[in-house]
């Protein structure tokens, strides 16, 4: 067994004054030092790819348009006074919440359906249902855009074929918002499905057997066995998806470019338009930073719930 670093240090000074090489050797043998060294690559990655960009974005958001002087929180104040930006906040919330709720419900339903298919036949369905999640979103959204195309929509062609009128998928605000949500739900549901399927498989069969002996119906089994056992995975999945959906960019960019009349913009698409395309990088940074407090509050409550349940189970 390796000597503990403290033991070595306690024994050392009485024998002889420590030499530099020996001290370094001792430091290197400390568990905390080794742990730190081993974690260093990860720390470097987080510092370089997370902390630095985040810090730089905060710094940028405090500059004027020409990035020549510090203006404090003025960019945030200006944004909050803008009708368009207030609408973007509202829209981002509608988009993210409705899309995540729909993805969670559909994913849960699909996971249940898959769970009850025999293992042999399950694989092919699992593979097929995962496809929307695997295809790069920019490409699949382009496919959806062709289906929604204002003038040559294939969906409208099908509707017309059965005598139904054309739908202005991208031209009318309500439909445009729905279209953006539909595509996000289509692309994101498989993630929920696969997570929930894994969770379902981990619920011990004995619990269902015990519930059945107690006379529980299928619904009661779902309500009192399945859902409590899946609560943590549901929470984590919802949190993860909420973050990704809030930050979604490609679907809005490809389908509507934020239109009509900015009524489908979300934080990321609006930040790109204001920051990069309009040449106001500090304000664009401020737009993107608005996501942070909203998501931090949600993350706090969801993770607190997860921790509480973990403690209860322990």
């Amino acid at each position: 067994m390796a000597l503990d670093a403290t033991t070595v240090t306690a024994a050392g000074p009485a024998a002889a004054p420590p030499r530099t090489g020996v001290t370094l050797h001792r430091i290197a043998r400390r568990r905390s030092t080794i742990a730190f060294l081993m974690a260093l690559p990860l720390i470097a990655v987080i510092a370089g790819l997370v902390a630095w960009p985040a810090g730089y974005a905060i710094y940028l958001s405090t500059l004027n348009r020409r990035m020549t002087s510090f203006i404090g929180l003025d960019n945030f104040q200006i944004l909050l006074e803008s009708e368009t930006f207030r609408m973007v906040i509202w829209q981002s919330c509608i988009f993210a919440i409705s899309a995540v709720v729909l993805k969670a419900l559909l994913g849960f339903w699909l996971a249940h359906m898959l769970h009850h298919i025999p293992t042999k036949g399950q694989r092919i369905w699992r593979g097929l249902l995962l496809l929307p999640w695997v295809v790069p979103p920019a490409l699949s959204t382009l496919g959806w855009w062709w289906m929604f195309d204002p003038s040559y929509s294939s969906l409208n062609w099908l509707l017309n074929a059965v005598g139904a009128p054309s739908v202005p998928w991208l031209g009318e605000p309500g439909w445009a918002r729905a279209s953006v949500i539909i595509v996000n739900v289509w692309a994101g549901t498989p993630f929920f499905m696969i997570m929930y399927l894994a969770a379902l498989k981990s619920v011990p069969d004995q619990l269902y057997e015990a519930a059945a002996i107690d006379g529980a119906t299928g619904w009661q089994g779902l309500r009192y066995v399945t859902l409590p056992m899946m609560r943590n995975i549901i929470s984590i999945t919802v949190l993860f998806s909420l973050i990704v959906t809030f930050a979604n960019y490609d679907i809005v960019r490809v389908l509507t470019n934020g239109g009509p009349r900015d009524l489908t913009h979300v934080f990321a698409s609006y930040a790109f338009q204001v920051g990069v395309l309009s040449g106001n990088i500090p304000r664009g940074a401020a737009v993107s930073l608005f996501m942070f407090p909203l998501l931090a509050v949600v993350a706090f409550f969801i993770l607190r719930g997860v921790n509480q349940r973990n403690r209860e189970m322990a």
């Binding site: 004027n64 020409r66 003038s151 991208l170």
Partner: protein, 452 residues
């Protein structure tokens, strides 16, 4: 030739290179690279083969001047070119020069090398540069880029002359023939006539394909419409001129009436939607460069042979033609500025500009009015002369325009990208707001953009 000038240091470097190569007994490869290297990022032309002109011209100039010229062609799909410029400006590193989209010259003006000497020599040879190119490229009294020919476009009306004659009773080819004078009825080619024709074509199920969304085709034609009514939404200093602006109210009213005769989904159209409307034969008119016609020539020749390009209609304040130029900016942090400027001057020569325009099939518009007479615009067809009126010609009695001028570039670029002009129309026509409510919103948006 002025275009072949190389700085004193460049010449010394070339000489030193030759001497060193001789002393070392190293093989000389055409003396390429002895005058240094110039790296330029040009816009990736969407006309097939459109980049060839620049490749050939740069190779020729490089050989003549013993400069190694490296070209990158970056497209604007996904805003790659704009992102590249932003990244290079931030990092102060990259190409020696880069094609800049209209408003980016203003955005990076303080990082771009003044090119007044180049412009002065070009103006001395070819006369004045068009005022919109100057408005976009000149900042703080200095030219911060050389207006380019490659990629620069205008957006006149591309008309299906058969449908126009059949449904609107207008012989557009007689009105605007392929010759240097207007035909009978050209003076009546105004927005009122246009509205009547739009209504007639709408009834005939071949509505005009005019986008009203947030992409540049929409913003550009609406910008020209606003200017032709004298409806400016800010002054030169960027102060909103919206309150009590009767001209703005008038043009808003006109645009709302016109929108009723357009396809009901134009609010979501992008820059390709109008092209498709024309090419598919479902539209009698679009505002576009000849790219839509060129694609029709390949994919739907029966449509292309019925297309005729004419100037935009006139309004109470005159006739304006939407103009969207590229400008090549020389980065102040570039490593070979003298040679880069010399190359850009070479590309600005009439012969170079004509070669570029010819290679693009007439798509590219040079910045000098004196160059609006290239034969390519007369000879292209079918039908012969179909794009004769594509560049602005004196008998059009028109001016080049860009939406939101004369606002300061840093404000105009925000208004342009955020398509305030089409949105203010949409708020009334689609959103059901009153003109006063929509104009109030417009003023608040502009004031917000000016802050910070």
């Amino acid at each position: 030739m002025a275009g072949n000038r190389i700085g004193r240091r460049g010449m010394l470097r070339s000489g030193a290179g030759v001497v060193a190569a001789g002393a070392l007994g190293a093989p000389m490869v055409h003396a390429q690279g002895t005058g240094g290297t110039v790296r330029i990022a040009f816009w990736d032309h969407w006309v097939p083969g459109g980049n060839d002109a620049l490749k050939q011209l740069c190779a020729k100039w490089g050989e003549q001047n013993r400069v190694n010229v490296q070209l990158d062609f970056i497209n604007t799909t996904g805003n790659q070119l704009q992102l590249t410029a932003a990244a290079q400006a931030q990092s102060r590193n990259g190409h020696d020069a880069i094609s800049l989209t209209p408003w980016d010259v203003g955005a990076y003006a303080d990082q771009l090398e003044p090119v007044d000497d180049v412009i002065e020599r070009l103006i001395g040879k070819y006369g004045p540069i068009n005022p919109i190119a100057e408005y976009l490229a000149k900042h703080g009294g200095k030219w911060r880029g050389v207006p380019a020919t490659s990629g620069t476009q205008t957006k006149p009306a591309c008309v299906r002359y058969d449908l126009f004659e059949q449904h609107a009773g207008i012989d557009i080819r007689a009105m605007w023939p392929a010759e240097g004078k207007p035909g009978p009825g050209a003076d009546a080619w105004n927005w009122d006539t246009f509205l009547k024709a739009a209504e007639a074509c709408h009834k005939a199920n071949v509505p005009f394909g005019l986008p009203m969304g947030q992409f540049s085709d929409a913003v550009d034609w609406v910008g020209a419409l606003f200017l032709s009514y004298g409806a400016q939404i800010t002054d030169e200093k960027g102060n909103p001129t919206i309150k009590g602006n009767d001209k703005l109210k008038q043009v808003l009213d006109y645009a709302v009436r016109l929108s009723k005769f357009l396809p009901n989904d134009v609010w979501a159209w992008d820059d390709a939607s109008n092209n498709r409307a024309l090419i598919s034969g479902r539209s009698a008119l679009v505002f576009n460069p000849p790219s839509a016609w060129a694609v029709a020539k390949r994919d739907a020749p029966q449509v292309a042979e019925k297309c005729w390009t004419v100037p935009m209609p006139a309004g109470p304040a005159g006739r304006f033609l939407a103009y969207l130029p590229f400008t090549t900016g020389v980065w102040a942090f570039g490593k070979n500025k003298a040679a880069t400027k010399a190359l850009l001057e070479f590309l600005g020569q009439r012969e170079s500009a004509e070669f570029t325009t010819n290679t693009s099939g007439g798509y590219d518009i040079p910045p000098f009015a004196s160059m609006a007479d290239f034969p390519v615009w007369t000879t292209q067809g079918p039908p012969p002369g179909t794009i004769y009126n594509y560049p602005l010609k004196p008998h059009h009695q028109a001016k080049y325009s860009i939406a939101y001028s004369p606002a300061p570039a840093e404000l105009a670029s925000q208004m342009y990208v955020q398509a305030l002009n089409t949105k203010v129309i949409a708020r009334v026509a689609q959103g059901g707001e009153s003109a006063d409510q929509a104009m109030g919103w417009l003023e608040r948006e502009i004031n917000n953009m000016r802050r910070g």
